[in-house]
């Protein structure tokens, strides 16, 4: 049913349609609205049977999900940012144990400095954990991906993380078609675990595996992820067939057919980029966009195919590896190995910095001109940086940079966004 609905609410209702049996919740912005809504549904009895467990930390949340999943229950949780890092040991563990947990990640920056706003640092911090990671462009896609995530996770015994931009999507009220129960049931059969804790058929799960088999275990996990590269498009296709809506898949291309410059990105920023691309197209610039929906496993082949015709690839990402550069860029570069492309990394939107259409247009123009350096930080306030560096050079006890920058800038709040001149 088509509704004007908050993203978090859409996720909560869709997850409920997936009939989760155990949901663990620890509040962290901007994930709270999702678990609040599920909690209310469980308490009201509209989502049943389901155990909703208020845990004492994200570490416990993932741990409860591990226990529940290993006991054969469809398990779900949601988190963000620091919460993901706090549970990271369990995140790895869930993947290592091959437990098909589904988790929503309301993407948010990681402190310090503490920051509640959106970027992708959290998702990137666990990209090697062995989870499948989807990035949603819209709330519609985020909702749809959850159905596909459960299906995929349980088919392959791999946990799946659905990443959606914190606040930008989670708190956005927009049009979402919420599926009906019958449709979801047809897409998602009951959970049949590959292994389960059962007194009637006891096994020991979580053995200590030494050098003699550890690499094989990891390689098998890798093969399962490669299987996912086949299953993800198939499931998306089935989803489209049943719902009449294209959602998910590996990558999505926009106006790339004749594009010389292609921008690659993850998540909700793709919408703004598409607007910018449309405008630049009107100016005759041959630009296109490739959105990567499935970040892990990384669809190297699909990315290569999508970018083959481009001469310049601009990877715009909301996270970066300090001391080096783009994270996604590295993966794209690996995928394009052997091809002759100019590859540019643009770091943007860290800690909730708005990525504006205007800035993107300027970026595209610069790229088309061939003036874009290998690594760019979009809308970086170089003046502030220079002032701080001067301060640091001048006095040993220069104090904390974050606070210095804020003081420089004067009072801010959730004020009107600054228009970059």
């Amino acid at each position: 049913m088509l509704r004007q609905i908050e993203g978090s609410r859409a996720i909560a209702e869709t997850v409920a349609l997936c009939r989760p049996e155990v949901v663990c919740a620890y509040p962290i912005s901007p994930q709270t609205h999702i678990i609040e809504a599920i909690g209310a549904m469980v308490k009201a009895g509209t989502l049943a049977p389901c155990e909703f467990i208020n845990v004492e930390s994200e570490f416990a949340a993932m741990s409860v999900a591990i226990g529940a999943s290993a006991t054969g229950a469809r398990s779900y949780t949601a988190t963000a940012s620091q919460g993901l890092l706090y549970m990271i040991e369990a995140v790895y563990n869930a993947a290592g144990l091959g437990l098909p947990i589904v988790m929503t990640l309301a993407n948010r920056a990681i402190g310090a400095p503490i920051n509640i706003w959106n970027d992708h640092s959290d998702a990137m911090a666990v990209r090697d954990a062995g989870w499948i990671q989807f990035f949603a462009e819209t709330n519609q896609e985020a909702a749809d991906l959850h159905v596909q995530a459960f299906r995929l996770a349980e088919e392959l015994s791999v946990p799946v993380m659905v990443c959606m931009d914190g606040f930008i999507l989670t708190h956005a009220v927009e049009r979402v078609d919420i599926l009906d129960q019958a449709t979801v049931d047809s897409l998602l059969p009951p959970y049949e675990p590959r292994q389960v804790l059962d007194p009637a058929d006891p096994v020991s799960i979580g053995a200590m595996v030494g050098p003699e088999a550890f690499e094989e275990v990891r390689y098998l996990a890798h093969l399962r992820q490669l299987d996912a590269l086949v299953r993800i498009p198939a499931i998306a296709e089935q989803f489209a067939h049943v719902t009449g809506r294209a959602s998910g898949g590996l990558v999505n291309s926009y106006r790339t057919d004749d594009a010389e410059t292609v921008i690659v990105a993850l998540g909700s920023v793709l919408g703004t980029i598409k607007d910018a691309v449309d405008i630049r197209r009107e100016l005759g610039e041959r630009v296109g966009v490739v959105g990567i929906t499935c970040f892990r496993p990384f669809p190297a082949h699909a990315v290569r195919e999508a970018l083959r015709s481009a001469s310049q690839i601009v990877v715009l990402e909301k996270a970066f590896s300090v001391g080096f550069g783009g994270v996604l860029s590295t993966d794209v570069a690996m995928s394009m190995h052997g091809e002759q492309h100019v590859l540019r990394s643009v770091i943007a939107g860290l800690g909730g910095r708005p990525i504006t259409r205007r800035s993107l247009e300027a970026l595209i123009a610069e790229a088309v001109r061939g003036d874009l350096p290998a690594l760019t930080f979009l809308d970086l306030d170089h003046g502030a940086v220079d002032r701080e560096r001067t301060r640091m050079a001048g006095t040993r006890r220069s104090g904390p940079s974050a606070e210095n920058l804020l003081r420089d800038r004067g009072p801010v709040g959730a004020a009107a966004p600054r228009t970059e001149s």
């Binding site: 004007q4 912005s29 709040g413």
Partner: protein
């Protein structure tokens, strides 16, 4: 696309206002996108919310940089926040106050603007009278409907009563209607004054 930016403080229903507007627009068959920009989620802290209205799907996720309309729920924010940033000279400005622009000292700033798109509305007073609490958001939405014509009063009222069940919804809808009347009258007065 019609873009609205709403300023206020935590607890004043700023985010809800944008959501109600989006829901109302959706009900009228339009595409809409409402989202907030939070500071820390505390009562009294400055809060901004946005709402885009369009006949086509909305893709952009950037904050509303250049609003077509500005709703200011708390004019005291003028001292903290660049309230009018990005506003074009043809933009709508609806301010919750019982004073007028010149009494607020805004005359100079808006000298170049379309004067018929600058309005104040005593939404808090209306809310206190009809809702019983100083929550100006519903009244301002009623005023916004009358002011811009981007949405109907009926859609606003329906969104309000859908969101707030029972008497609370009814009272807020009543406040919206009163503000709608107030703004309608103010517009007429302005026309009357300018034609004279």
């Amino acid at each position: 696309m019609f873009q609205v930016r709403i300023h206020g403080r935590g607890g004043q229903g700023v985010v809800t206002a944008a959501e109600l507007l989006a829901v109302a627009a959706f009900a009228e068959g339009r595409h809409a996108q409402a989202f907030p920009s939070f500071g820390s989620e505390r009562t009294g802290a400055p809060v901004v919310s946005y709402c885009r209205l369009d006949d086509a799907p909305i893709r952009t996720r950037e904050p509303v940089m250049e609003p077509d309309a500005l709703i200011v729920q708390d004019v005291t924010l003028i001292h903290q926040v660049d309230l009018f940033s990005g506003l074009s000279h043809h933009g709508y400005v609806l301010i919750n106050t019982s004073r007028n622009f010149s009494e607020l000292g805004f005359e100079d700033h808006f000298r170049e603007f379309s004067q018929e798109r600058l309005l104040t509305c005593p939404a808090t007073e209306i809310a206190l009278e009809h809702v019983g609490r100083p929550l100006p958001n519903a009244a301002l939405l009623g005023g916004f409907a009358a002011f811009t014509g981007e949405i109907t009063l009926d859609a606003i009222c329906q969104a309000i009563v859908d969101r707030f069940k029972g008497a609370v919804g009814e009272r807020n809808a009543a406040a919206a209607k009163v503000a709608f009347e107030f703004v309608t009258n103010a517009k007429e007065e302005f026309l009357h004054a300018s034609t004279n």
